[in-house]
Structures are given as C-alpha cells and as structure tokens.
Amino acid sequence: MNKEKSKNSISEEVVSRIESGEVKMRSKKYFFFRAALVVGFLSLLSFFVLYLGSLIIFVFRANDIILFSGMGFHGFRVALLVFPWYLIILVLLLMVLVEFMGTSFSFVYRRPLIYSLLGIVIFVLLGSFLVDILPVHRPLFDLAKQERLPVMGGMYRHLGDLDIDDAHFGEILGKEGDVWVMKLESGDTVYLEITERVKGFRLLETIKSGNQIVVIGEREEDIIKVSGFRRLNSHSRGIER
C-alpha cells in the first residue's frame, strides 16, 4: 500500500511539475547545435594538433636537430637542450584533450582507451608527416624572414633559426698545416681543433674544401674544440638558408 503511494507520488509530482511549466523540454535544435559544436571543436582541435605536429618536424628539419643526436654525448646533450619541448608537451596535452572529448562517443569508450590513444598517436604522426610534405611551414618561414608575415612572423623566425649553443654551421675553407679552417655562417673564420674523441673518425678523411659542415664543440675565440661533426647534405639548414 505504502509502496503504491510512493510510486504515485514520484510520477505524479514529476508530471505535475511538467504540466505546470516548471520543467521544460530542451528543443531538438539545442542538441543538434551542441553536437555540431562538439564535432566542430574536435575537428578544429585535430587540425591544430596536426599543424603543431608538423611544426615540430619543421623545427627538427630546419635546425638539423636529428644530426646532433648522432654526434656523441655532447651532440646528444645539445639536441636535448634545443628540442622544442614546449611544443611537444602542448601536442601531448591536446592529444589527451582529444581523447577526453572522444570518450563521449560510444565507439570510443566501449574499448580500452589504449586503442583510441594509439589511434590518436598514429593519426597525429602520419598526419603531421603529411602536412609537413605540403608547402605550409617553409613558405611561412620564408615570409617571416622577409618580415612579411604578421602575427606569427616572430615565432617562425625563432623556430626556423634556433640559437644553438656549441653548434657551429659553416663551410670548410681548407687546411693550414694539419688544422682545418672553417668559415662560420656569421662570417667568422675559425680553426678546428680535433679532439681525441673524433681523431679516428673515417668521415674526417673525406672532408674537403667547400664542404658544408656542422661542428659540435666549445669555441674559445677562433678555435673550436671539435667533439663531433657531420657533413651537411642538400636538405640541411646550411644549404637551405
């Protein structure tokens, strides 16, 4: 009897609140716009993540960061210090946001989140490399160099031409006795002091006058103590600039 009374009271109360107009039904349009907003925001967010991902690849390419990591401990340390960490952290945070927003869809939350996370990682990696192929960052960087890019100009000038401590780009001028002479991008001429660590490198024997190279090492006035070096190919920053 009491059960019946309670049953009636809840349903009756809810219905009476609806009929009195106290409780209103949200329109279909409201939910349509809300869903469109979520999908639109997710799409924009995905494009932005791809833009940032491809910007990271551009920074790596434009500054030859990958080259440094293969130049011994000193080179590895330089690569770590110059890594665009804040961009990488921002991309990771945005990927978590995409994942979080995706969990409102049943095809995402029904499976372990590791699947959707892996999907996002693959999407960002492949998408970033695809965007990197397109003429996006290089033309923007060129415009920025010519001071013709408003708003983002400063960012591109900084990211495309990072100031890297202990990394010296330039051209081999020739040998003075046993010492290599190099002309740096700044126009300075320096002498390369080959340290014990790189003395046995076969690459050292193939270096010729006119080669574009990057050298890792501490500079003391006009002498650089070489702890690592690489010859630059046509895709490297020294040639492109």
Binding site: E12, V14, R26, S27, F31, R111, L113
Partner: protein, 191 residues
C-alpha cells in the same frame, strides 16, 4: 475511452513511450516514470546508502530525463540512457557531500583487455547477490556501483559500459575485483 487509451499506452515499449514524449505526450513520460522509479530507487538506495532524500534525487533524475529527452537516440535502448542520467546524478551527490572518494579515471580503463562476459546460473547469481548485499556498504563506490548494476539491476556488460561510459573489458575487470573485495570483507568478518 480514456482508460482504453491509457491501457494502450501501458502496452508500449520504453522506446515507443520515449518517442511519444519527444512529440510532447506527457502521459507517456508519466508511464516511463512509473516503470523506472522503483528500479532507480533500488539502485539509488544501494549506491547512496548513506544519504538522505533519495526520493528527491530520483525525482531530479526524471526531471533531467524529461529536459533532455530530445537527445535520446531512438535506435538505442532507453534503459541504459536513464540509468546513465541516474549515475551522473548520484556521482554528483557523492562529490557534493564528500563522504567518500569517487575515482572517475583509473588505469583499468586504459589497459584492461577484452574479457568474456561471465555467465552465471540463477542460483549462483542469487547466492553471490546475498553475500554482496551484506557487504555492499563497505566496498569502494567504483566497485559497489558495478556490482549493483550487474547483480541487482540485472544489466549486462554492454549496458553497464553505456551507463558508466567505461570500456566493456573494464566492466569485467571491476566486477572480478569487486567480488574479490567482497570475499575479503566476508572472510574478515568471519574471523
């Protein structure tokens, strides 16, 4: 004549009643409320055992359901949809009162791999249900809720996954852990 129409309404499925409500039929919604209020009261009383005003909380669930009825997808089942609203409401109550911690995110949502749904006989389920009912208050909310939905509300893994918005495999993992905790509590009591 009115009684015939009402009887006709009462024979409709949940989905049909939800569709009538979407078209503005308040009576159809009233029948839905009647169908679900006892189930949700039982769910609420077991999940929020330590709270007062469960009835108000349930009323709030139906008010929210009515406000948002246009978001109900008619190609899906109505039951997980209303239980999802109830779950959100109950979790908000737990959060507000801060009587016990409720963890929204757990590693088992990321890594738990596919787990076959366990088929229990009626007798097995009844026996486990009795044990669970005795220890329910002492168990963490994230396990308590899954045990309630599986043993008392008779929901399957997919429905529970939709209600809690967690992976289906996580439902299996949490059910197993919940049962383990129940066993532990039971054995400790025996000592």
């Amino acid at each position: 004549m009115g009684d015939i129409v009402e009887d006709d309404m009462k024979n409709k499925t949940d989905k049909e009643l939800a569709e009538f409500t979407q078209k503005g039929n308040t009576e159809a919604f009233g029948i839905l409320v009647e169908r679900y209020e006892h189930k949700l009261l039982r769910y609420g009383r077991k999940f929020l055992f330590d709270y007062e005003d469960i009835k108000d909380a349930i009323q709030d669930v139906f008010v929210r359901a009515y406000s948002n009825i246009q978001s109900f997808d008619r190609t899906r089942e109505f039951s997980p949809w209303i239980y999802r609203i109830a779950h959100n409401n109950f979790v908000n109550i737990i959060k507000k009162k801060k009587k016990e911690p409720y963890i929204f995110f757990d590693a088992d949502m990321i890594f738990s791999l596919a787990d076959e749904e366990e088929i229990l006989t009626r007798a097995e389920k009844e026996e486990e249900r009795r044990d669970i009912d005795r220890c329910l208050k002492e168990i963490k909310p994230k396990y308590r809720e899954i045990l309630i939905l599986f043993y008392f509300e008779e929901k399957d893994y997919k429905e529970i996954s939709d209600i809690l918005s967690i992976p289906i495999s996580t439902v299996g993992v949490r059910l197993k852990r919940g049962r383990k905790e129940i066993k532990k509590i039971y054995e400790q009591r025996k000592k």
